[in-house]
């Protein structure tokens, strides 16, 4: 990809009000439209009814009813979360926006704000088990706080609108909201204060720290402010990554298999598909899992190194010494390139890579990866005529 093309992308990314080419968490969307990471179709949370997850009873107010919800998750909640992680049924993994009550909150109880992705809602309510708090759920179209904040749906306008709609000023007599720190990219605290009178307090990164934060006199400690990216946190991201890539992997595998079948027969075709799948899975699964231990800062470099590792393994396990020179060269060029490409893709899921960094990696990396794959294919074809 040429530099001018990257520049064009940059420009298109900068126009939030033009029609974004692909609804994606990386392309800034117009505020209040449903984004891609959530359900495909525009799905909203709908209205609060007695069917909301964890519903116990109604609390009556002069301004309306508020559902009192349970803070403990059921087996169905866990099962739903598991399905959602694999990308199934995301359409229904959404809760209605509005005000909820956990425990028996009164006029002084803290108000916690979250997104209407069901997993965000579940994480927060289970973290607040045994407490008396209000939970204000914003309409983020079923997308988690971090992704929705990046797009602006977990944003100032939605928060202001939701405060007005739930008549929060009549429900509590204080004027403070507790927000997740990772929601800050979408919220302008001073603007919320100006427009609603509620001050925004960024409590913690993880919902699990909320009780500790409240017990600490509503003061954030340094560790609550530090974002983490543990092996487990990376692990749970992988299923969706795999599911998203399945279609293109299946297509390319079939093409590779057929081409190799026509050229070199069944065994060679199977080998080619195995080599391809190994490289892709190394990039999608192994690189994210082993992220801190693979040398380099660049994801493309990490991917390429892992790809060389995979190719070496293949070389030793599949009688590499009997491969022809062009085949060997092609493998060591194309496989690391494929692996690097998929590893680079994972930058979209992390909480420490910057867009400028990814742009730089793409500007330098994509032409190299493309050339490596093309040269690899040419070597394989040429090898047949040697």
């Amino acid at each position: 990809m040429k530099i001018t093309q990257i520049k064009k992308i940059k420009r298109s990314l900068k126009k939030p009000h033009s029609d974004p080419p692909e609804r994606c968490c990386c392309v800034s969307n117009e505020v209040d439209t449903a984004p891609c990471c959530g359900p495909r179709m525009v799905a909203t949370g709908g209205e609060i009814t007695d069917k909301v997850p964890g519903f116990i009873s109604w609390m009556d107010f002069s301004t309306g009813k508020v559902p009192h919800i349970s803070a403990s998750l059921t087996i169905a909640d866990h099962f739903g979360a598991c399905m959602a992680r694999w990308g199934f049924n995301r359409m229904r993994h959404i809760v209605p926006p509005g005000l909820y009550a956990i425990g028996a909150p009164g006029l002084d109880a803290p108000v916690c704000v979250t997104a209407n992705y069901k997993m965000s809602y579940d994480t927060v309510r289970s973290a607040l088990s045994g407490r008396n708090v209000w939970l204000l759920v914003l309409e983020t179209f079923g997308v988690n706080v971090w992704c929705a904040a990046g797009k602006g749906t977990f944003g100032t306008n939605e928060l202001v609108r939701r405060i007005a709609k739930t008549e929060l000023h009549t429900v509590v007599n204080h004027r403070q909201l507790l927000l997740p720190i990772l929601g800050a990219p979408g919220i302008s605290a001073h603007e919320v204060a100006k427009r609603t009178g509620f001050s925004v307090c960024y409590a913690a990164i993880r919902a699990d720290d909320l009780p500790r934060f409240i017990d600490n006199g509503m003061i954030t400690t340094t560790d609550m402010r530090k974002v983490s990216f543990t092996t487990y946190e990376r692990l749970v991201l992988l299923p969706v990554e795999i599911m998203l890539a399945v279609k293109s992997i299946a297509l390319i595998s079939t093409a590779v298999f057929l081409a190799a079948l026509l050229a070199d027969g069944y065994t060679a075709a199977l080998m080619m598909v195995l080599a391809y799948l190994g490289a892709v899975l190394t990039g999608i699964v192994l690189v994210p899992l082993l992220l801190p231990w693979i040398p380099g800062r660049s994801f493309a470099v990490k991917g390429a190194l892992a790809g060389v590792g995979w190719c070496t393994l293949l070389y030793y396990c599949a009688h590499g010494s009997s491969w022809s020179l062009p085949t060997t060269a092609a493998s060591f060029l194309a496989l690391p390139a494929l692996c690097a490409f998929h590893a680079l893709n994972f930058t979209g899921c992390t909480t420490f890579t910057s867009r400028s960094g990814v742009k730089k990696e793409m500007r330098v990396g994509i032409p190299i990866m493309g050339s490596a794959v093309i040269i690899g294919i040419m070597l394989l074809i040429m090898g047949r005529f040697l």
Binding site: K8, I9, S12, L13, P21, E22, R23, C24, C25, C26, V27, C36, C37, R40, C147, A149, G150, I181, L182, A184, P185, G186, I187, S188, A189, H190, Y202, T220, T222, R225, K226, V227, S228, F229, L244, A245, K247, S248, L291, P292, R297, S298, L344, N345, T347, G348, C349, T350, T351, F352, T353, S354, R355, S356, G357, V358, K359, K360, E361, M362
Partner: protein, 96 residues
């Protein structure tokens, strides 16, 4: 974040220290502890740790921070490029 660091010298984060009122808002929202307060002024302490999320710029009451914010994701940028050039069907899937 311990252990995981991204590329050096790429972050577009800028701070006009002269107009900073030292409210500490940026320190409160930054998940990577990029800022430090020095007397009554914020200072960029660790620019390479910045992930360009934009939280600091959005929460600075006097707008003295600028950053080219956005979630960086390779397939999103490729999709944008393909669509802009009317290449269809190649990468029709979504990212993230």
């Amino acid at each position: 974040m311990t252990g995981l660091r991204y590329l050096k010298n790429v972050a577009t984060l800028k701070l006009d220290q002269s107009a900073c009122i030292g409210c500490g808002g940026c320190l409160e929202v930054c998940p990577h502890q990029v800022f430090a307060l020095e007397g009554k002024k914020a200072r960029i302490d660790d620019r390479d740790a910045c992930m360009e999320c934009g939280a600091c710029a959005k929460n600075c009451p006097v707008s003295v921070i600028t950053v080219d914010a956005g979630v960086g994701c390779a397939s999103g940028m490729i999709n944008a490029w393909l669509q802009e050039h009317n290449v269809r069907g190649m990468k029709g899937g979504s990212c993230c």
